[in-house]
Amino acid sequence: MSAEPLTHLRRLEAEAIFIMREVAAEFKNPVMMYSIGKDSSVMLHLAMKAFYPSKPPFPLLHIDTTWKFREMIQFRDDTVSRLGLTLLKHTNPDGLRDNVNPFDHGSNVYTNIMKTDALKQALTEHGFDAAFGGARRDEEKSRAKERIFSFRTQNHGWDPKNQRPELWNLYNARIKPGESIRVFPLSNWTELDIWQYILMENIPIVPLYLAKKRPVVQRGGQWIMVDDDRLPLLPGEEPQMKSVRFRTLGCYPLTAAVESEADTLEDIVAEMLTARTSERSGRLIDHDEAGSMEKKKREGYF
């Protein structure tokens, strides 16, 4: 028998599995948010482990803004069919009707309607009492204080001053009808942990994370990929082919690429180790104003 302590990745893995089993046991109708990104890929992999040989006893939910990269949708459908899971998709019908998009409405209004409102609609419609999210505490300052079991009111609101104290691994899962808990099993993972775990466990990820020549335009100092012909080109803008990759994936007009030659997982990790910018810098919505993420979370953003 080995006396070596468990490595930090194995401890993080066991913690996430523990959290998922608690949710499966304590809630009537949980769901796992599936955003197709690397964190979702890790979360899903951990869910497969947590309940093996059973399948995870809850469906996946994807909030489809209709502005995701095409490769993400392809990857989503492949993953769900490979693992034999149930996927629920939801798009805000009001936003779809009004053709809400990031260009005409701005990133704030767009995010509110197509992500936050859409999410609330889906949670309410299905009556989910717990929803897993892949958020990590190292991503952003207001996330650093987030609980693992984060209580939400009947209106899906988050009050950072009124969260339940969380001691040991004794998560309080008790709620009244209509209330819900957002659960973050990857809270204690860092971006580097995610990549190392993907490498170690050989977890499939969307190819957009790997560098490849892709059509991009430069906008506001960042590279935006021209994923389809819905991206209105500004005067003088000409898409150019550049070797780029994405550190984080969201809606393509709101997610900036970085120039990179890293086309293997090992290269990505190596690049991470020398990176000098945080991954959310590629997320245009975080830059709106100080405390912008805290505001979005109070309104029900994941």
């Binding site: 930090h8 104290p165 004794l170 860092t190 970085v258 090992e266 990176a275």
Partner: protein
């Protein structure tokens, strides 16, 4: 533009690096200190020196330093860690925040907890998942009351490794004498706290002395820097060598051929062939497989999340604990614990709460507060209730026996949280000291004459009619009329009235919140006995608190409790004021009067709500008897069953 230059490192170097990084262990620690001790600055310094601050975050801090900063023109490192907007504007941290950094040897998770209001609650939260505590002291101020408080809480939560970080040493001229005096003072009062390692380090978070790099200004100090110590301190508490414990979280049943028990190994190891028992039932079997998605394990060890299958089909469900036959935990419904209270509403002995212990959720009451502990002086004080942020030694009784070990032996088996039955808030956190008696010694007497047989000869289904409502609402008047009618129908009844009981059984109780809880608890227990005797029991009590009425409801079987809300509005009851009590209460002569200066929590799911403004007492009594007849309480015949 974040153009990254792709560093195509040579493959072997990278593979080696990753291999070494994957082997890193994890150290979780918390930092304790007050607002001015420089705690946030120290964490900011750790993140900065270990290169965990990215350029865009740094740009954000430079911008914010001008707006909120407290250190003039320098970058205020504390702003890195003071997360939420409201906190930044107040210049203080108000909750627990988690930070991450890594060195070549270890990965670290830091729980940053504030040192002012809510300190006990937040510190306990941060400490509950920490292996080590960094206690900050301002070198100019030395040991303060708060240092004693922080150390006490750290010790209470069972942390064995402490770093005494004597900060702002630059402001006392890097003086060794100051440092030595502080260390000596600290050792003097913390000797009984059970710390296995205590490392004192003189440092300056602001300038980085002895944080990552050894200070050039303190040649007299030859100990490790803070990071060196955190990287090397041996925190393995030998959980593998303790007895095996697995708290079953989830029964894994994909098909009829597989039945597994999923959970994380709290301590010890397990392998196929081991003899195990279920702690509570004592049912025995052998381990068949230790299942994971990566293949069956030859043996499972503490910290691993596994699924066990057994050789025999025995009854196991969530909350059960699988243990070795030869090293079992205690199983009892009474134990002594240290309890930290975390809610504005004080803990009241006798009030029913929910306990979550491991994967087990159980109803429980605190039967007595043995004493409070003053977290500043460590003195033991008598107490009837436990307010927010205070710590006490208590006796707890659970509704059914639970399996546990002392917290000091096995934190996963000896920790619990206390949850409010109505609001669902987490109210407190506890650490079990020891069991008070073995539940196996207190079997209920199995009686030949049963409740059913007693009720049968009375041709009725026994029940509690619980009348609740404001003083002067008409509870006793209506209850009396109901009892008269039932008696005239040859039913067997008894009426427990608030005033009458207070003259006898409860004459030692006053009207404080604690005494009200105890008052109701006794009445609830008496009514349970009366129901057991087969009687229709009428209870007429203001009983203002939902939790106590729930307690009374839980004491009897489902369907045996009929909650009747005599819903007279306050202004009507006060206008009647039959006993002149409202007048006295308004005049301040009566304290804690329900509806005036003490709350009434109206029932949410009462079986009956009586509108005294529309119906006479006679009519309302009729409604109750009709309800009882319609719901089968007054059925006749010898074949009555419960």
């Amino acid at each position: 533009m974040n153009a990254l230059t792709a560093h195509k490192l040579d493959t072997k170097a990278l593979v080696d690096y990753l291999a070494s990084h994957e082997k890193k262990s994890l150290l979780r620690f918390l930092t304790c200190g007050s607002v001015d001790d420089g705690k946030s600055t120290l964490i900011g310094r750790l993140l900065y020196d270990t290169k965990l601050i990215f350029e865009d975050q740094l740009a954000g801090i430079e911008r914010d330093s001008k707006k909120f900063g407290t250190v003039g023109e320098d970058i205020d490192l504390a702003l890195l860690v003071d997360g939420l907007q409201a906190e930044r504007e107040q210049g203080i941290t108000i909750d627990v925040a988690y930070r991450f950094f890594t060195t070549d040897k270890r990965k670290f998770i830091v729980a940053d907890t504030p040192g002012h209001e809510q300190y006990t609650r937040n510190m306990a939260t941060g400490a509950s998942n920490s292996d080590l505590a960094v206690i900050l002291i301002d070198a100019r101020k030395g040991i303060l009351t708060q240092t004693r408080r922080h150390s006490f809480i750290v010790s209470l939560l069972g942390i064995k490794h402490v770093v005494l970080a004597v900060n702002k040493i630059d402001l006392v001229g890097y003086d060794q004498a100051v440092f030595d005096r502080i260390v000596a003072d600290y050792k003097a009062f913390s000797a009984g706290f059970g710390f296995e390692t205590l490392q004192a380090i003189p440092l300056s978070a602001r300038y980085g002395d002895n944080v990552l790099e050894a200070s050039q200004s303190m040649p007299w100090y030859d100990g490790p820097t803070l990071v060196e110590h955190l990287e090397t301190v041996d925190i393995d508490s030998d959980v593998d060598s303790k007895p095996f414990r697995l708290q079953v979280q989830w029964v894994n049943r994909p098909d009829l051929n597989f039945r597994g028990f999923s959970g994380t190994i709290a301590s010890g190891t397990v392998k196929p062939g081991d003899d195990i028992v279920v702690a509570r039932s004592g049912k025995a079997s052998k381990v068949a497989r230790v299942v994971t998605m990566d293949g069956d394990l030859d043996y499972g060890r503490a910290g691993q999340a596994v699924t066990l299958t057994l050789e025999d089909e025995i009854d196991i469900s969530r909350g059960d604990v699988i243990v070795p036959a030869e090293a079992r935990p205690e199983v009892s419904d009474q134990f002594q614990a240290h309890l930290i209270w975390m809610n504005e509403d004080p803990l009241l002995p006798g009030r029913p709460y929910i306990l979550k212990i491991g994967a087990k959720t159980v109803s429980a009451t605190v039967t007595s507060i043995k004493h409070k502990i003053d977290v500043n002086s460590f003195n033991e004080l008598a107490a009837k209730a436990l307010p927010l942020n205070e710590v006490a030694v208590v006796n707890i009784m659970t509704q059914e026996p639970v399996a546990f070990d002392a917290y000091g032996d096995d934190p996963a088996m000896g920790s619990f949280i206390v949850i409010d039955r109505v609001s669902n808030l987490t109210l407190g956190a506890g650490m079990i000291d020891r069991g008070l008696r073995r539940a196996t010694n207190v079997h209920w007497q199995a009686l030949d004459v049963s409740k059913a047989s007693r009720a049968g000869i009375k041709h009725q289904k026994p029940a509690v009619l619980w009348f609740t409502g404001l003083s002067g609402a008409g509870k006793s008047t209506i209850a009396n009329l109901v009892e008269k009618r039932l008696l005239s129908m040859n039913h067997h009844t008894y009426l427990l009235d608030g005033d009458n009981v207070r003259h006898g059984l409860n004459k030692d109780l006053g009207f404080s919140a604690e005494d009200r809880v105890e008052n109701i608890r006794r009445v609830a227990e008496v009514s349970r006995l009366m129901v057991d005797a087969g009687l229709v029991t009428l209870v007429s009590f203001i009983s203002p608190f939902r939790a106590e009425r729930q307690l009374a409801r839980d004491l009897v079987a489902p369907g045996e409790f009929i909650e009747i809300h005599v819903a007279t509005p306050l202004d009507v009851a006060e206008a009647r004021d039959v006993k002149g009590l409202y007048k006295k209460a308004r005049a301040g002569e009566l304290k804690n009067f329900t509806g005036i200066d003490s709350p009434y929590e109206a029932p949410e799911n009462a079986e009956l709500v009586l509108d005294t403004t529309r119906f006479s007492s006679e009519e309302l009594a009729g409604q109750i008897v009709t309800y009882m007849a319609e719901h089968g309480y007054l059925s006749f015949g010898p074949d009555y069953e419960i």
